[in-house]
Symmetry: C2
Subunit: 124 residues, 2 copies
Amino acid sequence: MKADGRSRRETSRPMSKPETADPGPVEVFAALGDPTRLSLLTKLSDGQTRSIAMLSADTKLTRQAVTKHLHVLERAGLVKSIRVGRESQFGYRPGPIIEARSYLDRVSVQWDEALARLKALVER
Amino acid sequence: MKADGRSRRETSRPMSKPETADPGPVEVFAALGDPTRLSLLTKLSDGQTRSIAMLSADTKLTRQAVTKHLHVLERAGLVKSIRVGRESQFGYRPGPIIEARSYLDRVSVQWDEALARLKALVER
DNA sequence: GCAAAAGGCAACCTTTTGGTTGCCTTTTTC
DNA sequence: GAAAAAGGCAACCAAAAGGTTGCCTTTTGC
């Protein structure tokens, strides 16, 4: 019989949060601000659902690294995962991208309006 | 006479890059993925140019922290700065936001097309 | 011409990130 | 019913991020 199931260090940390609602633009942008994650997401945006093994196949990273990135995307609401059999299938979720896009739109609009006002002022 | 102009540690690091052309979407998203930076940028997108002192006035951060964030935004091409007199004025630059937006558009479009194909397949 | 305002620079420090490795559990497949 | 495939979990590590402080230079305003 073994003394303990756990092997490595013994530090004990609480960690983890519920966080179900979809996060604001900042977190979405942060999630998009990494090359690996951005490419995972664009891959998944073709509508096909993929397993972790599939997604880690064409990177030089380990499966675990990819898993972490997928979790970041998931916490940002950009993908969802469901466990089917022995694998978990990841799929794209359009919501946050739409929101992010409209955030950028608002910024652009604010800028355009400022320009328009300036131009109007100069031309009068 | 003082022995040396420099005071603290003496480590010597090279650092810094030229990097003039505007960076890809990843760096832009990364720059947007921080609350301080996002708010600085939306503030500046009203077209008004502002000094560092002005921009750090309404945050709890130090001027230096704000300066760093501004430099990140600048390296991402999102703002430009010109030194005028004793202050440096920061202004919004629309380019990268437009690009980022169209990147998100492409992702959305790819998703929409996938959905459309799926629907067509199911309905036939 | 001097004090105050605005910044730049660089050293430090702490927390987060991005990534790896080891090992255990659950499904599949022969 | 075992071996192999797919993952999960947690510890660990190095590097990058975010922030602060100290001090020096340049402009501006009397």
